[in-house]
C-alpha cells in the first residue's frame, strides 16, 4: 500500500510570556514526530491529554503553523507550499471535531452548512451546490426533511453526520477525526463507524482518528500509533499492538482498561457491592 502522508521530524512550540516578569519561555507541544500514513488505512493516534495528539491533528490539517519538520502529502511538502498552492491543497484533507454542535454554524440550515465549503472554494452555481449538498446528506443517511433544520434542532448523532457530509464536500483524500466519537453513546458510535466504513470504501478515504480511548479504537482501527510526551512511541497494526505491546507506556495504557466483560464478571464474583 502506498504512502499518503509522511510526517518527518515535526515539532511545534508555543512561545509564552510569564505573567508577572513578562519574560518569554517556550512550551514544546510536539517533539520530533515521525509518522507514515498509508493510503486507505484507518489509523488511530492514541494518548493521554498533554501527549500532543490534538496538536498533531491541527498541524497536519494546517490549522496551526508547525515549528519545524516536513509534512509530505501525496508527494508535496505542505509546509513549503506557496500561498497560491495552499488553497488547492486544503481540499485534500478535512478535520472533524469532537463537539459537532460547536463546529457547525448554528444560524445556517443543514444544507447551507454542507454547501459552505463549496461556496468558499467557489465551486459551481448555487443550485448545483445545493444539489451536491443534498446528495452528500443522503450519503451520510440524513433524511431529506432535515434540509432546512438548524444544527441545534438535530440529535448529537445527526450533527456529527452533518459534519461528515460537510467534510466530504470537497472530495478530500484524508479525514482527520479529533475525538469525534467521544461524546457519543455506544449506539450512535456504532452507527457513525458503520457509516465511515461504507464511505471509506466508496470514496477511497484514509482516516486518522485521534482518541484517548484505547478501548474504543480497538473496535475499528487498522493501525494504532501511541503518543506519549509529545512524540510517537509505538506504531503498529492494531492486532499486533493489542496482542504484543512493546513500549512500556502502551502496556500501562492497556492494563488500566479492563473490558466490559471483565468488569461484569467481577461484579458477579463480588459478595458485597
Amino acid at each position: 500500500m502506498e504512502t499518503l502522508v509522511r510526517i518527518e521530524h515535526l515539532s511545534k512550540n508555543y512561545v509564552q510570556r510569564r505573567h508577572l516578569t513578562r519574560s518569554e519561555f517556550t512550551l514544546q507541544a510536539l517533539d520530533d514526530v515521525n509518522l507514515t500514513i498509508r493510503r486507505g488505512v484507518t489509523l488511530a493516534i492514541v494518548g493521554d491529554s498533554g501527549s500532543g495528539k490534538s496538536t498533531l491533528a491541527r498541524c497536519l490539517a494546517l490549522l496551526e503553523p508547525s515549528s519545524g519538520g516536513e509534512i509530505w502529502f501525496d508527494g508535496k511538502n505542505l509546509l513549503a507550499l506557496e500561498r497560491s498552492e495552499l488553497s488547492a491543497a486544503r481540499r485534500e484533507f478535512q478535520l472533524i471535531f469532537q463537539d459537532a454542535a460547536s463546529a457547525l454554524n448554528p444560524r445556517l440550515t443543514a444544507v447551507e452548512i454542507v454547501a459552505e465549503p463549496l461556496r468558499i472554494q467557489r465551486a459551481g452555481t448555487k443550485e448545483r451546490r445545493r444539489e451536491r449538498a443534498l446528495e452528500l446528506m443522503n450519503q451520510v443517511r440524513l433524511p431529506a426533511h432535515l434540509e432546512g433544520k438548524r444544527p441545534l434542532e438535530m440529535s448529537g448523532g445527526q450533527r456529527q453526520r452533518l459534519a461528515i457530509a460537510r467534510a466530504l464536500a470537497l472530495e478530500p483524500k484524508l479525514l482527520i477525526l479529533d475525538e469525534a466519537l467521544s461524546s457519543l453513546d455506544l449506539a450512535n458510535q456504532e452507527m457513525i463507524l458503520n457509516l465511515l466504513a461504507d464511505l471509506q470504501a466508496a470514496h477511497s478515504l484514509t482516516y486518522v482518528h485521534i482518541s484517548h480511548d484505547l478501548r474504543q479504537v480497538s473496535r475499528f482501527a487498522d493501525e494504532v500509533a501511541v503518543m506519549n510526551d509529545r512524540t510517537i512511541v509505538e506504531h503498529k497494526s492494531a492486532a499486533e499492538l493489542f496482542a504484543h505491546p512493546k513500549n512500556p507506556y502502551t502496556q500501562e495504557l492497556l492494563i488500566a482498561l479492563p473490558s466490559l466483560e471483565t468488569i461484569c464478571a467481577d461484579r458477579a464474583s463480588q459478595e458485597v457491592r
Binding site: S49, P143, S183, L184, L186, A187, A256, L260, C264
Partner: protein, 278 residues
C-alpha cells in the same frame, strides 16, 4: 428499602424550544446507599433530571410538573433558601468539566474550605483542616502542595478530584455525577472510578450516575435506567439489563449491536424515531 429520592411523573418543558418535552412523565426512585445509572444519547433528558434534582432549573427557562421527593419533601415546591440548605449537605453534584466549577484565582484548597464554611458555622482554621483531610481522602498527594495550588497548575484528573472533594465534604446523602469522567483521559478515568467505588464502600451515600460509557456504569451502577427522547425505555438491575435486555436500544447502548440492514443497505433508523416515515 426506603427511598432517599422519589421522582413521580416528572415533566420538564423548555418553552421556545422543541414542542415535545425534554422529560416526559418520568418516575423512578433511588434507595439509600444505592447507585442508579442513567444512560441515553444527548438530549434524552438525563441532564435536565439532574439539574431539577438540585433545584437548578431556572423557573423562567423551564416548566416543571410532577414531584421530586428527597427524604419525603418535594424539592420542586421549595424556595431558594430551603434548597440552599439541601445543596451540599443533602444533595451534591459534579459535572463533566471541573474547570468550570473552580475559580481560577483562588487556591483550590481554599475553595473546598469555602464550601464547608458556607454550610457549617466553623472557624476558618477548622474549615481548612477539614479541607486538607478531604483532599487526602480523594487521593490528592502531596496534600499541602495541592491545597495551595491554583486550578491551572493541576491536571484534569486532579481537578475532578478537587471538585469531588467539594461535593463530598459536607457528607451529602446523594451525589449526582453528570458524565464525571468524560473530559478525562483513559487512565484518569479508571482512577476516578476506582476512587468513587472506594468512597462509596465506606458510606451509605447514594449515587445518581449519568454516563454513556458502559464500562463506567458496569463499574458502579446497581440499577440502570435507559432513556430516550425524554422517556424511560427500560429500567432494572444492571446485571439483568446487561445479560438480558428487553429492549434493542438497551442492548445497543450497553454492547453495541450489528446494525440491521434493510432496504438495499440503508441502516434501520430506529435510533432516530422522531423522523417522519420515508
Amino acid at each position: 428499602m426506603e427511598s432517599l429520592l422519589q421522582v413521580r411523573d416528572l415533566t420538564i418543558r423548555y418553552p421556545g424550544s422543541e414542542p415535545s418535552p425534554a422529560v416526559d412523565g418520568v418516575s423512578f426512585r433511588i434507595a439509600v446507599g444505592e447507585t442508579l445509572g442513567i444512560m441515553g444519547e444527548s438530549g434524552c433528558g438525563k441532564t435536565s433530571i439532574a439539574l431539577a434534582s438540585l433545584g437548578l432549573l431556572c423557573k423562567d427557562d423551564a416548566i416543571v410538573s410532577g414531584s421530586i421527593e428527597f427524604r419525603g419533601d418535594n424539592l420542586l415546591s421549595m424556595d431558594e433558601s430551603e434548597l440552599r440548605e439541601i445543596r451540599g449537605t443533602g444533595i451534591s453534584m459534579i459535572y463533566q468539566d471541573p474547570g468550570i466549577a473552580l475559580s481560577p484565582v483562588m487556591r483550590v484548597g481554599e475553595q473546598v474550605a469555602e464550601v464547608i464554611r458556607a454550610h457549617k458555622k466553623w472557624s476558618w482554621g477548622k474549615c481548612r483542616e477539614e479541607s486538607h483531610s478531604m483532599l487526602a481522602r480523594v487521593g490528592l498527594f502531596p496534600t499541602e502542595r495541592i491545597y495551595s495550588a491554583y486550578a491551572h497548575q493541576l491536571s484534569g484528573g486532579q481537578l475532578q478530584r478537587v471538585v469531588l472533594a467539594q461535593a463530598l465534604v459536607c457528607g451529602p446523602a446523594l451525589l449526582v455525577a453528570d458524565e464525571p469522567t468524560a473530559s478525562l483521559d483513559a487512565r484518569s478515568q479508571a482512577n476516578f472510578i476506582a476512587l468513587l467505588r472506594e468512597l462509596k464502600k465506606g458510606s451509605r451515600m447514594s449515587l445518581l450516575l449519568i454516563s454513556h460509557t458502559p464500562e463506567i456504569q458496569a463499574s458502579l451502577a446497581d440499577r440502570l435506567m435507559v432513556m430516550k427522547d425524554g422517556r424511560i425505555v427500560e429500567e432494572g438491575d444492571f446485571d439483568r439489563l446487561y445479560a438480558n435486555p428487553s429492549h434493542a436500544y438497551t442492548k445497543a447502548l450497553l454492547r453495541g449491536s450489528r446494525s440491521v440492514r434493510v432496504d438495499g443497505g440503508r441502516e434501520a433508523e430506529w435510533i432516530d424515531e422522531k423522523q417522519a416515515a420515508r
